[in-house]
């Protein structure tokens, strides 16, 4: 890092006579060492190189984007990266070069208190640049937040709790049933407190993993049972806090079939880092199968679940098929007259 290029030593030799000539005006010995000046210049330039390298390798980069909103966000990110990257490189290199050029070689500094024209120039230039960038960035934000979901979008209620996610689908009627916190009974497989006296609630489906159909707009209604959580699917580029007491709506269209992950991004307590679940984008038919409400009696429960588990295994769920057939959760579900709360064993631990 502190290597000096041979030709820079030539500059020192050239300056030696200059320094000698000015030794009267210069009361103290010059302390702007060539070695330090070069090292600083090299170091600050290396920073620029490191920045460019990290951007160029793309080894540590955004995961693949799969939503309609992601390209807009990525484009705005790239624009910002270009502008700020250029500023970063120029500023670091300029700092290094100025330090090198104006190291103490004897003589006197220029006596100047500044330059008002320059001040006005760089003030207005940065103002236009930064504010302009922020105004351009409005577009991506607006398409997520200023415009609501289109009518006919699939609604999914996402509820965060210490330390798990629950996803509720409204079923065939497209209406979410009533919930009452007093009815919450995890042991009985009713983690959201669905009121089963409400007909709209009977076909609601609650799952600990999220499934959405491909190329169909999804409106997420985000809630929390206890403290603040944050719903983050990196591939969607969507992140939104789940705040107790609020129902926050966001919407997106997933455009690529596959399995992705949900992470909690707001510190919610001890198990925060384990608050992971899967986010699966599937074909409309698969989605129908997974979320189709079906009245199941206790007797045909086991067979129903076995069939289901086969469907999941072919659909490529992230959880092992055996966990879906787990009998303990089936019996929980059967106690709730037709309401199926599916818990793969792995998701509960």
């Amino acid at each position: 890092m502190t290597r000096i290029a041979p030709k820079k030593i030539g500059i020192q030799a050239r300056n030696r006579h200059l320094r000698r000539g000015l030794s009267v005006a210069n009361q103290s010995k010059p302390s702007g060492g060539l070695l330090t000046a070069s090292a600083l210049a090299v170091f600050y330039s290396l920073l620029a190189v490191a920045g460019i390298w990290f951007v160029a390798t793309q080894k540590w980069w955004f995961p693949e984007s799969i939503s309609n909103i992601a390209p807009k966000i990525d484009a705005q990110f790239r624009l910002t990266l270009w502008i700020s990257g250029i500023i970063f490189v120029l500023a670091q290199v300029a700092l290094g070069v100025l330090i090198f050029l104006f190291r103490d070689r004897g003589g006197k500094s220029e006596y100047s208190h500044g330059n008002n024209k320059l001040e006005i120039l760089w003030t207005s230039a940065t103002a236009v640049l930064f504010v302009g960038l922020a105004i351009l960035g409005r577009n991506a934000w607006a398409s997520l937040h200023f415009i609501g979901a289109a009518p006919g979008a699939l609604q999914v209620e996402v509820t965060g709790a210490q330390f798990e996610w629950q996803f509720r689908y409204p079923g065939l009627d497209g209406v979410f049933g009533k919930v009452d916190p007093k009815l919450i009974n995890e042991a009985a497989g009713n983690p959201l407190g669905l009121d089963l006296n409400d007909t709209a609630a009977k076909d609601d489906v609650v799952m600990p993993v999220m499934a959405v159909p491909v190329n169909r707009e999804v409106e997420v209604i985000l809630r929390s049972k206890d403290v603040i959580h944050s719903f983050f699917v990196p591939n969607l580029r969507i992140k939104q806090d789940a705040v107790p007491g609020l129902a926050i709506r966001i919407h997106f269209t997933a455009e690529k079939i596959g399995e992705y992950e949900v992470a909690c991004m707001e510190l919610c307590g001890l198990g925060h880092y384990k608050m992971r679940t899967s986010f699966t984008v599937m074909s409309a038919e698969d989605f129908q199968k997974v979320t189709k409400p079906r009245r199941v009696s206790s007797e045909d429960m086991s067979s129903a679940w076995t069939t289901k588990s086969l469907a999941f295994s072919t659909g490529g769920w992230p959880w092992s098929p055996s966990s879906w057939a787990c009998s303990c959760h089936c019996s929980c579900a059967s106690s709730l007259r037709g309401l199926r709360t599916r818990y793969p064993c792995g998701a509960r631990s």
């Binding site: 702007g32 103490d104 500094s109 208190h113 500044g114 103002a127 919610c268």
Partner: protein
């Protein structure tokens, strides 16, 4: 902490145990709290400010010496209470330094680390606010009322401007945090519901609160929290301006612009708190307003950077260790500041919020940069404080390891943030989208340990120089401001008599026609400067 991130579930060397998630989160929380409040807020302002501000404006002491002592000891009590949180049975708080409600408002039912330890945390911050308010008042009154003859506002050293404006910010910000702490404590202990809405269920049991708003805590906290960032960094900016001008032997470039930039930063900093809350569920239309206001802070920040570069331009840069740290501050401030432009845009903030990108951003701009300001200040004022000079060779070794080290530690974190790496995760190994991170985590951890160890060099340098360093002259850096006219260390009343009158602005270097390349502010023989 770094060890846990790089090698999760491994035994920690020298300690011999595996770190649990609650220990990890407790360390994260206490690291954040202690650094923000007891280091970044206290040291540059109360430490350097208390020493240098009265001398620099030509005052015998701060306006209220008793209040000053009270503020110091109150801070001490606050720190003691904070440390006690480590040792209570319920464990140290684990909710992060932001202590978001309702996690922080519900008490022990919300999990480990939410009991007595968090009570002590809140009480400690309350006491700290009281101490900071006393300190802030003292700084404001001192700067306004105790300036010596001729020391007009536009002749103040930029350090004084920075401390003065920081004090005003402190007065506004800590008052709000103090109120928020009271409300949070009432929620926790008296059953009120300022921050807790109704209908919560924790561990299957309903919570007996209703009607509060979790977002209210965030608004109050960040209304304090954003000015706090500038409370940490402004004194560093002042110190850097002073040192760059001195060691470039050149008047600071654009003194007035620098003062206006400080004021603009301060005013804007009180109206941008919402950029911490883009994804919080706050009205999305306000996000756009906060976004525009936030990028606007980039403008005075850029003015300062340009002016620092302008000061170097055609100066003669001398590489005293103090100046090395000051120059590195400019580099760090650029690096940390530029990433703010990403986070200031709500759409770009979406994938980056609460990731390591943010961690990298604020560590550069308010953490490392502010600490570099403190290192620079230490090397600069050490001769004045103790009458002895610090060892330059040790200083330079420390500088190089630390500068290279902090870049190795925090620069790669930006890119981990792009990959989505969440902050405050004790372990990320179960996430597939984070599978590329381990090599970077190993690299960062090793760099962090080396950088940390290098701080021992600084410690040794300070202690050794205090006892054995070469005696310092009155004005070893040939600087212009008033503290360099008094003996090192200064007598108790600073000037040993009536303070001198001031005839010049603070940075008259290399004035044409003057034999010396600096003109003391007290020098009545020379006519120089525009002010």
């Amino acid at each position: 902490m770094r060890f846990q991130l790089a090698w999760p579930s491994h035994k920690i060397p020298l300690w011999g145990q595996v770190m649990t998630p609650e220990q990890y989160l407790a360390l994260v929380t206490m690291h954040g709290t202690i650094m923000v409040f007891f280091v970044l807020t206290t040291a540059p302002q109360s430490g350097f400010g208390n020493f240098a501000l009265p001398i620099q404006i030509g005052a015998a002491d701060m306006a209220f010496p008793v209040l000053n002592m009270l503020s110091f000891w109150t801070t001490f009590v606050s720190f003691a209470v904070m440390c006690a949180a480590f040792f209570v049975e319920a464990g140290a708080p684990i909710g992060g330094w932001t202590a978001y409600a309702p996690l922080s408002a519900l008490g022990e039912i919300a999990g480990p680390g939410q009991g007595m330890g968090l009570n002590l945390w809140v009480i400690s911050l309350f006491i700290f606010c009281a101490a900071s308010l006393m300190g802030a008042l003292n700084f404001i009154v001192t700067t306004l009322d105790l300036r010596t003859r001729g020391m007009s506002l536009m002749r103040l050293p930029l350090t004084v401007w920075a401390w003065f404006v920081t004090a005003i910010l402190g007065l506004l910000a800590f008052a709000v945090l103090m109120g928020a702490c009271i409300l949070l404590l009432l929620d926790r202990l008296a059953g009120t519901s300022f921050f807790v809405p109704g209908g919560l269920v924790l561990g299957g049991k309903p919570v007996n609160h209703q009607g509060g708003s979790p977002l209210l805590w965030q608004h109050l906290f960040w209304f304090f929290g954003h000015p706090e960032v500038y409370i940490a960094i402004l004194p560093g900016m002042g110190i850097v301006s002073q040192i760059l001008s001195t060691f470039c032997r050149k008047p600071i470039f654009g003194y007035r612009a620098m003062v206006f930039a400080i004021l603009a930063i301060a005013i804007l900093s009180c109206s941008v708190w919402g950029h911490h809350m883009f994804i919080s569920g706050m009205n999305p239309y306000t996000a756009f307003v906060f976004s525009i206001l936030t990028v606007s802070i980039g403008v005075p920040s850029a003015i300062k950077t340009f002016n620092w570069l302008g000061t170097i331009w055609r100066g003669k840069v001398q590489f005293a260790t103090a100046n090395l740290f000051a120059l590195a501050f400019v580099s760090l401030f650029v690096t940390g500041g530029i990433t703010g432009i990403f986070l200031a845009q709500p759409a770009v903030d979406l994938p980056l919020h609460d990731t390591k990108f943010v961690v990298a951003h604020f560590h550069f701009v308010m953490g490392v940069a502010a600490i570099f300001g403190m290192f620079a200040g230490t090397f600069f004022w050490f001769p004045k404080m103790f009458g002895r000079t610090m060892n330059e060779t040790l200083g330079k070794i420390h500088f190089w390891i630390t500068t290279a080290g902090v870049y190795c530690v925090f620069f790669p974190m930006h890119f981990m943030g792009l990959a989505g790496d969440p902050r405050r995760y004790a372990d990320v190994t179960q996430y597939k989208f984070l599978a590329t991170l381990p090599p970077l985590n190993h690299f960062i951890t090793i760099a962090a340990f080396i950088t940390g160890a290098a701080q021992l060099i600084f410690l040794v340098n300070v202690l050794w120089s205090m006892a054995k360093g070469p005696r310092a002259e009155i004005n070893p850096w040939r600087c212009t401001t008033l503290e360099w006219t008094v003996p090192s260390p200064p007598p108790h009343d600073n000037f040993g008599g009536p303070p001198p009158a001031v005839y010049h602005g603070a940075y008259e270097y290399s004035v044409p026609g003057v034999k010396e390349d600096f003109v003391l502010q007290t020098d009545s023989r020379v006519v120089a400067g525009q002010h």
